[in-house]
Point group: C2
Chain length 314, copies 2
Amino acid sequence: MFLGIEIGGTKLQIGLGSGDGALVARWRGMVNPAAGSAGIQEQIAQALPELLARSGIARGQLRGVGVGFGGPTDDATQSVIKSHHIAGWDGFPLARWMSQLVGVPAVICNDADVAGLAEACYGAGRGFSPLFYITVGSGIGGGLIIDGQIYRGVGRGAGEVGHLRPVYPSQAPGPILEFWASGWGIAQRAQAAEHHGADVTAIRTAGSGAITGKAVADAASHGDPTARQILDEAIQALAEGICSVIKLLCPRRVIIGGGVSLIGEELFFAPLRRYVEERGFAAFAGLTEIVPAALGEDVVVHGAIAYARQKLGG
Amino acid sequence: MFLGIEIGGTKLQIGLGSGDGALVARWRGMVNPAAGSAGIQEQIAQALPELLARSGIARGQLRGVGVGFGGPTDDATQSVIKSHHIAGWDGFPLARWMSQLVGVPAVICNDADVAGLAEACYGAGRGFSPLFYITVGSGIGGGLIIDGQIYRGVGRGAGEVGHLRPVYPSQAPGPILEFWASGWGIAQRAQAAEHHGADVTAIRTAGSGAITGKAVADAASHGDPTARQILDEAIQALAEGICSVIKLLCPRRVIIGGGVSLIGEELFFAPLRRYVEERGFAAFAGLTEIVPAALGEDVVVHGAIAYARQKLGG
C-alpha cells in the first residue's frame, strides 16, 4: 500500500492505493496560499492520520509515499527547486520531511511528470509509447513517458511545454505558451480585450460577473464571438506548442488533461487536431494521436502512487 | 568490420571501420543533384569495390552496412520517407537495396540521428547522457541520444529542431528555425538585406562576388556591421530553438556541429550561450552545456558505423 500526495498551487490531495489503478481512500483539501509551505505541511500532518483511520489501513502496511509537486523538483536531493505559487518551498527537502512524517521511504517528482506516468499506467496512454502528457489548467505543464518511465533529462525535470516561446530572432523574448493558452492566460486575454473595447458581456455573464478562463469557455460554447476568438487563439498557440513537441519527440500519443481540456471535443480537441495537422512536420503527419486524458482529478495522486511503487518497490 | 555511408544533399561519403572510432579507409564524393537518387546509387556501386580493394578488406570480413541519410527515414520498413533535396528517394527501400548491393545486412537512419550517436560514442558527448546533437549547416537537423541509444519516437525520427516555429497564435504559421539560422537561411537574409538597401559589399567581397552563409560569417569576423547583425539574429533564433530543446528535454549537453558552427567560439558559441542563459527556463539554468561537435566531416560516417554495429551485432 502506498500514499500518493498531490501538492499544487490550489489543490492538496492524498490518496491511498496499491498501485493497481484504484484508490482505497482519498482526502481532498484546498491550499491556503497565505499560509505558505508551512500551512500545507500542517494540513498534510493533520489529514494523514484521519485518512489512515478512515481507511482501516495501519501504518505498518504502508510501503512508501509518492509526492507529485506543482513545480520543478530535483531527483538527486529529492527536494523542491521552486514553487511559482506558494512561498517557503524553494529548496525544501520534501521527500525527507515526508519520510520522517510518515515513517516510511518517500519520493517526490513534478506533478505533470507523475500525471503522465498515471495516464501511461492506467489511463489514455496504456499500451502506447512514447507518450507526451500535457496539463492545460491554470498553468501548463508536461511530461514525457518512455516505456513506462518518466524522462527527467539530467534529473531536474523536462517536458516544460508551457514555457515554450517563439523561435525567431528578437532582442526581447516573446511570451511563453502559458501566456496564451493556460486558463490564467485565457482570462488575461479576455481582460485585455475588454480593456481594448471588446464586448465581454457574455463572458462576464457566464462568470457571474468575473472574467475567468472557465467563463470564456462557457461563453464560447454559447457562441459568443469575443470568447470564441480568444479561445481560438489559445488553441492556435497550443497547437504550435504541440507541433514543437511532435517535431522534437514524435510521441505515439499526446494526452491532454487539465481544466481547459474539459472544454471538450467540439470547441477544443477538434480545432486543436486540425491546427496541428495543418501546421505539423509533413514527414511525421498522422503518427501522433491527440487524445483527452482519462483519469480526471485524481491523476496526480494515481501517478504519485505509481511513481512510489516504481521507485520504492511493489 | 562495417561500412558507414553518408548520403546527403551535397555530400556522399563512405567509410570502413570496426566501430572503435577510427576509420580504416574512406571515400568522399559530391552528389550530382541532377542525376537524382539513381545517380547516387551508381556512385556508391562504383566507389565500394574501389574502397574495399584500396583498404585490403575482403567482402567476407564485412558484418554490415549503416547508412546515415539526409532526410527522414522509417525504422519499420527501413526506407526513406522523403528527401527535400534529391529526386527519386521518396519511399525508396534503401536498406534492402544496400544489402543486395553489398551482400550483407544493412540499416538506415537519419543523418543527424547517427551523427548524434557518433558524438555520443566517440566525440563531445562521450560519458554524458542525455545528449541533443544539432547540425547547423545548409539545413538544421538534430537528434536525441539517451544512454547511447538514438531516440526515434514512434520510429520515423525525432529531434527536428530546424523545423521549430514560433509558438504563438496566428492564422498563418511563422517561418521555421532553418529560415533564420541555417547556412541557407543566413545567405537568404543577406540577399534580402541587399534587396532592402543594406550595404553588403563586405559580404560579396568575402564570397568572391556571391552571397553565401560562409561569406556572411567571414564578413562578420572582419567586423562588417550588416553581416554581424544577420549573424546575431541567426544566433538569437538558434538560442530560442535550443531553449525549447532544454525546456522539453533538459539534456546534459547540446552538441553543435555543421558548417555554421565552424564560425567558432567568439562569434558563434559565446553569444549563443549568452542568449540561452538569458532566455532559458530558470529552474533548469546551468544544467545543459553547449559545446562544439568533435568529429568534423566524418561524423555521419562514424555514426552510421556505430549504428550498424549496434543493430547488426559487433
